[in-house]
């Protein structure tokens, strides 16, 4: 039990931090309530998917700098497809497109033996270009039914956006996490050579992990167009935010350690900090500084804590 607690101490700390921040929000703006929570959950959606996608590749020992670009490709793909076909086929095709893009990233990393950070840096440009080729300026349509999926709250107090996110991530990750594939992902991230010698197909595991990241990026892209109602070909600011949230969430850069819950909570922490700063009418330029300082400070705190932990 104690061990289990220790393993999840970081996540618990984040939950606590989130709770404190919620209280601070409530203190600054007493009227903050269900609608506030709802818009928070909606704002967190694309970040959460980007972060979860990033978390999976970081766990497998890589990094994917092209996530925001893949989200853009999927967003415009879905928005364009929905002009000519039903929601279900359009969404299905988009998910497949995401999966394939991610798998292409993974395959290139495995085949070319170029480091992942470099491959995905190059693919960042490639996918961005592809998005612009699909749609030169913002446009397309999104079925209203799809958009209403993430607004409101069927269960009072629990925003639909949150349910949607939880369901989507759980659907992808839970069956995998405890399976051999999930273990392989952790194993490859932890020690690639040992994994290979333990009989794991390292190449396949990596490609699958990157494919999953692509799939989740597709969900991120879909959530973007569900929010805005149109497809935008220019990638949003999701890359750096997702790296920050992944690290804040307790996933170790370098692979093998961490889960998906921590990063998702970290996304909410980062989002609610922005809400607080806006509510408190803090100078927006100072807001940027505050965000930077918080990111660095929390990670420093984490570093100091693990350092102490390793010693004590």
């Amino acid at each position: 039990m104690n061990r289990r607690l220790q393993k999840h101490a970081w996540t618990l700390g984040l939950v606590l931090l989130l709770a404190v921040l919620m209280i601070v929000t409530k203190l600054i703006q007493p009227s903050f309530g269900a609608t506030g929570l709802e818009s928070l959950a909606r704002a967190a959606l694309p970040f959460a998917f980007a972060t979860v996608a990033m978390a999976i590749v970081v766990i497998v020992g890589g990094i994917d700098l092209s996530i925001a670009s893949m989200m853009a490709v999927c967003g415009v793909t879905a928005a364009v497809l929905m002009q000519s076909m039903g929601v279900v086929p359009a969404v299905a095709i988009t998910l497949v497109v995401g999966l394939v893009m991610g798998a292409i990233n993974g395959t290139l990393i495995v085949v070319t033996r170029v480091p992942d950070i470099v491959v995905t840096l190059a693919m960042l440009f490639v996918w961005e270009g592809v998005a612009l080729l699909i749609l030169t300026s913002p446009g397309g349509t999104v079925a209203p039914g799809l958009r209403s999926l993430i607004s409101g709250a069927m269960i009072p107090g629990v925003p639909n956006a949150l349910i949607f996110m939880a369901a989507a991530v759980a659907l992808v990750w839970l069956p995998i996490r405890r399976s051999k594939l999930g273990l392989s992902i952790y194993a490859v991230g932890s020690d690639e050579l040992a994994a290979f010698r333990s009989g794991i197909n390292v190449a396949w595991t990596k490609i699958t992990a990157y494919g999953l990241a692509g799939l989740l990026s597709a969900m991120g892209g879909l959530s973007l167009i569900m929010l805005t109602g149109i497809g935008e070909p220019v990638p949003g600011p999701y890359l750096l935010a997702s790296v920050a949230a992944v690290v804040l969430g307790g996933v170790v850069l370098g692979g093998g350690r961490g889960g998906l819950l921590g990063p998702i909570i970290a996304v909410f922490v980062l989002r609610i900090i922005r809400t607080i700063l806006t509510l408190a009418a803090v100078d927006p330029n100072v807001t940027t500084i505050v965000e930077g300082v918080i990111m660095v400070a929390v990670v420093m705190l984490g570093a100091v804590l693990t350092y102490r932990g390793a010693r004590g």
């Binding site: 703006q29 009227s31 903050f32 609608t35 506030g36 818009s39 909606r42 704002a43 694309p46 998005a131 612009l132 749609l135 030169t136 300026s137 913002p138 958009r147 607004s151 973007l224 929010l227 805005t228 109602g229 149109i230 935008e232 070909p233 220019v234 990638p235 949003g236 600011p237 989002r271 922005r274 809400t275 806006t278 509510l279 009418a281 100078d283 927006p284 330029n285 807001t287 940027t288």
Partner: protein
């Protein structure tokens, strides 16, 4: 006259660009100049439409009376804007339009902006010849609007040919490099139309020793300076005042005070300043402001809309 102590929310999605900074400062200055505005909450960062939705929702949550925004996209923000309007919040979009029902729009006419400059340029090169067309960021609304205006002018001058089209990404260094590269090819051309990145384009000609051709840019302080200073350089600056933000605040206050305009859409039409005629040169000399950040448009106010002084907008407080 003081009707109330309004809180106005501002949302903007591009940071670190002189034009947008001027817009924010104009908003602050105008808010300070208006007696009725108690506070301004500014959400100002680099983000996309989804991020702007987040900011808008936060502003609604903060209980503002009005929102003045520079929209990332005309159609993408409707969910938040509808909610705001429903909650009785006055919504004013500046610089570009939004499609939400009941929102006011106080916009620089981007299509007209491009059309005006392009027409002048085509006229200047005698209605025929080759031009270089330097655009902004692919896939961004403002760039698309300007492209429509440019194409409209192009249609009117069938003998004008676009010999080279590039995207500067609205980055000074990229624009300069691209011009250098193109000059190096030795392909002849007769004029340049450039979207916002302008003084560095002139620099590229001067530094490489290439003879200057007519160049159309925006009214950025640096470019206007060149129009005035450089011997033998003909060109034109089309105004695209960032102070439209200040006007947006003024409009929002008017509406809050019950003086809503009849039309929900007000277009601020651009003006063209050229240095090919003596009158034009005089206008430019009058507009000069050598102390201003070279990326800032020199048209710091919009007569009839904004009430602040030069010092106030430069102080950028409020």
């Amino acid at each position: 006259d003081g009707h109330g102590n309004y809180t106005i929310g501002v949302s903007n999605t591009v940071q670190g660009n002189g034009w947008r900074e001027q817009m924010i400062c104009a908003m602050r200055a105008q808010a300070a100049a208006e007696g009725d505005v108690e506070s301004l909450i500014v959400a100002h960062r680099n983000t996309d439409a989804a991020g702007q939705l987040e900011d808008l929702n936060n502003l609604i949550e903060a209980g503002v009376d009005a929102i003045v925004l520079n929209p990332a996209n005309p159609d993408a923000l409707n969910s938040a804007l509808d909610a705001a309007i429903e909650a009785g919040i006055v919504v004013v979009a500046v610089d570009a339009g939004v499609s939400a029902e009941g929102a006011y729009i106080l916009s620089n006419n981007q299509e007209e902006y491009a059309y005006l400059g392009a027409r002048w340029l085509f006229e200047q090169i005698g209605g025929e010849g080759d031009v270089v067309y330097m655009r902004g960021i692919a896939g961004v609304s403002a760039d698309t609007d300007r492209d429509n205006g440019f194409r409209r002018a192009l249609e009117e001058y069938p003998n004008v040919n676009v010999v080279h089209e590039v995207f500067t990404g609205w980055q000074q260094d990229q624009g300069k490099q691209q011009m250098f590269d193109f000059l190096a090819t030795g392909i002849p051309f007769d004029g340049v139309w450039t979207s916002g990145i302008d003084n560095v384009i002139v620099d590229a000609f001067v530094e490489s020793g290439a003879p200057l051709v007519p160049i159309v840019g925006a009214d950025n302080a640096g470019f206007v300076q060149y129009l005035n200073d450089i011997e033998g350089f003909t060109g034109a600056a089309v105004t695209n005042p960032g102070s439209v933000g200040g006007a947006g605040i003024a409009l929002a206050v008017d509406i809050l005070n019950g003086n809503a305009p009849e039309e929900t859409t007000v277009l601020v039409d651009p003006v063209l300043w050229e240095n090919a005629t003596p009158e034009g040169q005089e206008t430019i000399a009058g507009a000069l402001n050598p102390d201003l950040d070279p990326e800032w448009p020199v048209s710091v106010s919009i007569p009839g809309w904004t009430d602040y002084s030069m010092e106030e907008i430069i102080a950028c407080e409020g």
